[in-house]
């Protein structure tokens, strides 16, 4: 499996806790190929978000090697990490992290501004992304005026709008109703098939799990199970 898009060897993550530390990841080895539709599952506190953050170059590993798209994430400097995130990664946060003073349209448009896309390209892509998540009627609303599920959909649109190579999605459906969840997941599957976008979820939502083609179970910071799901 030499063309793995994500390659993790012996990953350990410690969080300082006063004088000692808490070991959130205890030696993870993992390969993800391009075009996978994979989920990290497992109980709360098992380290799913921690692992996604490290893959997304938002946090540093304590030990081990993490390679994403050929970049040694733990050795990237600040600027290179920002560039990797900007150009190749779409992150859907468990806590949304929308920009509070921007309206829905501007929030989704933001990554495209960073990529210096032209106004026309931006407009087309933003409208398409907002149509996927069904928020065309809320274009002018600020995050504070949206429900939790609507915020989540904005966060999803923002991560997808630039067609990143990898989407890292942390509980993307936690606040969505069944209809919206299925609609968005179907869109993701379609993107995955058409553009070979790699999806890596962290979830305990059965609806998400039902779409996965590979489920990696984390327990206490370790991989307890890694299973390929045959879809019909």
């Amino acid at each position: 499996m030499e063309n793995a898009i994500i390659k993790i060897r012996g990953l350990v993550k410690d969080y300082p806790m006063g004088v000692t530390y808490f070991r959130a990841l205890k030696g993870i080895n993992l390969d993800v190929q391009q075009g996978e539709f994979t989920g990290l599952v497992g109980p709360s506190g098992s380290g799913k978000t921690t692992l996604l953050n490290i893959i997304g170059a938002l946090d540093n590993p304590t030990q081990g090697e993490v390679e994403v798209l050929g970049y040694q994430v733990d050795k990237l400097n600040h600027k290179q990490a920002a560039r990797l995130r900007n150009e190749n990664l779409g992150f859907i946060f468990q806590t949304y992290n929308l920009l509070p003073v921007y309206n829905v349209y501007e929030n989704v448009e933001f990554p495209l501004l960073l990529l210096k896309k032209s106004a026309d390209e931006r407009k087309e892509a933003v409208i398409q992304a907002l149509e996927w998540v069904g928020l065309m009627d809320k274009i002018k609303s600020r995050p504070a005026q949206l429900s939790g599920g609507e915020c989540q959909r904005v966060a999803i649109a923002r991560a997808m709008v630039k067609n990143p190579r990898i989407v890292l999605a942390d509980e993307p459906t936690a606040n969505l109703d069944a209809a919206n969840s299925h609609h968005i997941l179907q869109t993701m599957v379609k993107l995955n098939q058409e553009l070979r976008t790699t999806f890596l979820f962290a979830t305990h939502d059965d609806k998400v799990i039902s779409y996965l083609r590979r489920a990696i179970t984390l327990r206490d910071g370790m991989i307890a199970e890694d299973k390929i799901i045959q879809t019909t």
Binding site: N53, G56, L58, D59, N60, H78, K79, A82, R83, L84, R85, N86, E87, L89, F91, F93, T95, N97, L98, L99, P100, V101, Y102, E106, F110, P111, L113, L114, K116, R158
Partner: protein, 393 residues
């Protein structure tokens, strides 16, 4: 420029928060300029008043004259040089003779300085023409300031005995009558000073035609060179004291000034730094979305600078009319200001120079930029996850 667009968008979208910051900033601008203008106005006013009533357009001093050494006063008199005589005759100067003396109000003794001045002089704004008022025969008319009147408990028309030593060192005495009492902000022509007709004083001490110093008319152009007996004292010399006082006032009241500056800067600091620290989650988001550290710093610093510019504009909108109004109407000063080292008129007219505007504005603007830059730089050093979690350090 994407960054400019974003900064502009952030500022306009933040609405109330922006206007609050801008208003506080503009208030700091106006406040600091206002106070500095007061100082400037104070200094100018004291100097203007001194020129009008005491210093004129400069002075010639008899070479022994030293106002800080009363012992020299006995010898500090001489006849005028021909150049000075010429000036006096043409109405371009007037002479003053100083004689140490003592008065005996209500049986007490009080040392004073008799100053002889030409009652018809037009060089300084002392009310010397009052010295031509009619008094009883043999009594010398005298004009004093209100502080002198108070300390000697003398009222208008009152008569008091004065004793002095003449040119030969012989004691002599006479009676003086207070024909007028004037108000001034300048203590040096008031406290312990008694103004009498020049010629009478010259006769009393047997020094006909002699003087201690000569006051030139303001704006006089061809100032003659001094002579061995008569030394020219220019403004630099004559205002050395007052400049020192103003400087020490500046230094002394700089406590007040520093507090004011600190308050203004605190307002700036508070609005900017707190605003930025409150936005660290937002910064974390920007970084997580792939904005580089340099972009984040530029963006927030630019936002701060734009707010600074807005504050200058807003401050100008209400500040310029306010300050202009004050330079016209002035500020009435409480009487307590008299207690200070120098005295001010009842109304103080602040003076605002272009330089003052420019320097203060520049200073505050740079402070705003720095105060936006430093916390942003600090936060942007965090890992995105830490910034997102709202961590402080």
């Amino acid at each position: 420029m994407v960054i400019l667009k974003l900064a502009f968008r952030n500022i306009t979208h933040a609405g109330l928060r922006t206007w609050l910051n801008v208003f506080i900033l503009s208030f700091a601008f106006v406040l600091i300029i206002w106070v500095q203008g007061l100082y400037e106005g104070m200094q100018r006013q004291v100097i203007r008043d001194m020129q009008a009533i005491e210093v004129g357009g400069g002075q010639f001093w008899q070479r022994n004259y030293d106002p800080y050494d009363p012992l020299t006063l006995d010898d500090a008199h001489a006849a005028l040089s021909s150049e000075l005589q010429h000036l006096v005759q043409n109405g371009n100067a007037t002479l003053v003779l100083i004689v140490p003396a003592a008065i005996f109000p209500e049986g007490r003794v009080q040392s004073v300085i008799l100053r002889g001045i030409d009652p018809n002089q037009k060089i300084v704004s002392l009310p010397s023409q009052e010295l031509t008022n009619k008094v009883s025969p043999g009594v010398i008319p005298a004009v004093i300031g209100s502080r002198m009147a108070k300390s000697a408990n003398l009222a208008k028309d009152e008569i008091v005995t004065v004793r002095w030593r003449d040119a030969n060192g012989v004691f002599d005495a006479a009676e003086i009558q207070i024909v007028a009492i004037f108000n001034t902000h300048i203590q040096t022509v008031d406290v312990s000073q008694i103004w009498v007709p020049l010629q009478r004083l010259q006769e009393m001490v047997h020094m006909p035609g002699e003087a201690t110093y000569v006051i030139l008319k303001q704006g006089l152009n061809n100032i003659p060179p001094g002579s061995p007996d008569w030394i020219y004292r220019d403004y630099d010399f004559l205002f050395a004291d007052i400049n020192n006082i103003v400087k020490s006032k500046r230094a002394g009241s700089s406590i007040f000034f520093i507090i004011l500056m600190a308050m203004a800067l605190l307002a700036v600091f508070d609005t900017q730094v707190l605003a930025i620290f409150r936005r660290r989650k937002e910064m974390g988001t920007l970084m997580a979305l792939g904005m580089t550290r340099r972009w984040v710093i530029s963006l927030f610093t630019l936002e701060g600078s734009l707010q600074g510019l807005l504050a200058i504009l807003v401050g100008a909108v209400y500040g310029i009319p306010f300050l202009a109004f004050q330079t016209k109407v002035g500020i009435s000063m409480p009487q307590a200001v008299e207690q200070g080292g120098f005295n001010l008129g009842a109304t103080l007219y602040p003076v605002y120079s272009f330089k003052l505007f420019l320097l203060t504005t520049l200073f505050l603007f740079i402070s705003v930029v720095i105060v936006s830059f430093l916390p942003t730089r600090r936060i942007s050093k965090l890992k995105p996850t830490d910034a997102l979690r709202g961590k402080t350090t």
